[in-house]
């Protein structure tokens, strides 16, 4: 059924053709519409270029990026600690898996955003709190799955080679869990960009979310579009470079038996 290879060229032609066609439709469609409904490609491009040329705009993008990275890392460290605790004290499983995970997983993201602002004032730590709370369940699911699939025989081997639990954790456990952590990081990073920017809508005076909010209030559609495209670009490029590299280094097969 899969007859992909001989038609790659046609497929590519259609894929690129559709993209060009879309641009043409956008361009012609935008001419007949007011700019606050559908800005033309050239307006959006101009707004987009401000992310490169205008240091003030670029600053917002960099701030958002840094926040997403920090909250994903913090979320992963917390998830790792919880999962490691479950492994060390198996009786905690009920608490972590059926209470904490269920709670975090069902908590609406905008709820964190509102509570964050009610509890703390508008600041970067507030944004980090909100974003970490949003990405934490995604990290936790993968960390728990990673610890669960550890081959007991390899664990046994580790115990017979060293009695130091710290050494064992870094030399045996962590490499075995790594593929799952990488998968979790990837999901969390995506959620960070796609969902948790909501934190910047209320809880911040900087970042792309703030920029979006400000553009919306003055009906600056070109900037709204540009913000969306910037998110796609930053997410797409960093996901491709950074996380795919990690994924190759810690592929699932590397850690498996034999």
């Amino acid at each position: 059924m899969t007859k992909a290879s001989p038609h790659i060229l046609t497929q590519r032609l259609i894929a690129e053709g559709a993209f060009v066609l879309l641009l043409v439709i956008w361009w012609t469609g935008a001419r007949g519409m007011p700019a606050f409904v559908l800005p033309g490609p050239e307006d959006v491009l101009k707004a987009l270029s401000r992310f490169v040329t205008d240091p003030g705009t670029a600053y917002h993008a960099i701030v958002s990026f840094a926040r997403v990275v920090v909250s994903v890392v913090v979320g992963m460290v917390l998830a790792l600690a919880l999962a490691a605790a479950v492994r060390a004290v198996p009786i905690l499983e009920g608490i972590v898996e059926r209470r904490i995970l269920t709670f975090l997983n069902s908590f609406p993201s905008v709820g964190w955003a509102i509570l964050g602002v009610v509890w703390f004032q508008i600041s970067t730590p507030t944004v980090l709190f909100i974003q970490t709370a949003i990405v934490l369940p995604f990290c936790l699911i993968n960390a728990l799955a990673g610890f669960r699939q550890i081959d007991p025989e390899l664990d046994e081997l580790g115990r017979s080679l060293t009695r130091s639990p710290v050494r064992r954790f870094f030399k045996v456990t962590l490499p075995l869990v790594a593929p799952f952590l990488v998968a979790g990081l990837r999901v969390a990073y995506g959620i960070g960009w796609k969902i948790s920017l909501v934190s910047e809508l209320f809880g911040a005076s900087s970042g792309i979310g703030y920029l979006l909010m400000r553009a919306q209030t003055v009906s600056d559609a070109a900037t709204v579009f540009a913000c969306c495209i910037v998110i796609v670009i930053i997410y797409g490029v960093t996901d491709h470079i950074f996380i795919k590299l990690l994924a190759r280094r810690f592929s699932v097969n590397q850690g498996s038996q034999t």
């Binding site: 009920g94 209470r99 509102i114 796609v232 797409g236």
Partner: protein, 251 residues
């Protein structure tokens, strides 16, 4: 051991509720209302007709969005699988783009296009859900067991019969995964969508409560969604998943 882990989990819930209650005694109620007033406010959602109507509207938004996203996702995945000229366009262009597009971005674009109403909410939630469905169904189509398809072809030449009797049943776990993910995600994002882009629904109530510093209602809405999503997961989705796992287990 299983029993003790369970007991411990219940004790943990109890301890957390006590902690919440104790902390709410020393903290002003606009920052943290106690469990009791929040529970009463949640009950109010069902007894107060106007609140119940908002709840129903949110349910409607979510259901419509899941429905449209499911159909659109299935169509896109099937097109990518069966209409080869479109494969690269969907697999390598459209799906990654939809997947990378920010939910907030869709919401704000929808607000520009449709204004503050239900269409905006449904559009934004649908666009967020579509990539989840496409990815799940597409994976299912790629994982179709070739031998079973072969068997199907040898039993009947009727394409419709093959699809209905072999392909769709094989896809069930993936379709289910798509619906399960959609359900969880949609309830989380519908609040955001209604808060910014809607003029009705629970998210709209949340916005009003936020402006009036009515923390009790904020908590009530959050906990209502939390309980609702968790209950659906535990009562509905997990048992079905277990049955599917048993039925579709390979060796």
């Amino acid at each position: 051991m299983r029993l003790t882990a369970n007991t411990l989990a219940h004790l943990f819930t109890l301890a957390m509720l006590l902690l919440w209650w104790g902390y709410s005694q020393i903290i002003p109620s606009y920052q943290l209302p106690g469990p009791w007033p929040v529970a009463r406010r949640i009950a109010g959602f069902f007894t107060d007709p106007s609140d119940a109507a908002q709840l129903g509207l949110s349910l409607l938004h979510v259901t419509v969005a899941i429905g449209i996203a499911f159909v659109a996702g299935c169509v896109l995945a099937a097109l990518a699988h069966y209409v080869w000229p479109l494969r690269m366009l969907i697999d390598n262009r459209l799906t990654p783009l939809l997947n990378a597009f920010s939910g907030i971005g869709w919401l704000f674009i929808a607000m520009l296009w449709f204004g503050l109403n239900g269409v905006t909410v449904v559009f934004a939630v649908t666009m967020i859900l579509v990539p989840f469905t496409v990815i799940n169904v597409r994976t299912g189509l790629q994982e179709l067991n070739a031998e079973l398809l072969e068997l199907g072809r040898s039993l009947t030449r009727n394409k419709v019969r093959q699809t209905a009797k072999i392909i769709v049943p094989l896809l069930v776990p993936y379709l289910f995964a798509a619906l399960r993910t959609s359900f969880g995600v949609s309830w989380k994002v519908v609040l955001t969508a209604e808060l910014f882009g809607g003029n009705a629904g629970v998210g709209y109530l949340l916005n009003v409560a936020r402006q009036e510093f009515d923390t009790e209602t904020i908590f009530a809405i959050i906990f209502f969604i939390l309980i609702f999503v968790a209950a659906a997961e535990i009562i509905l989705f997990r048992p079905i998943q277990r049955r599917l796992d048993r039925r579709f287990a390979r060796d």
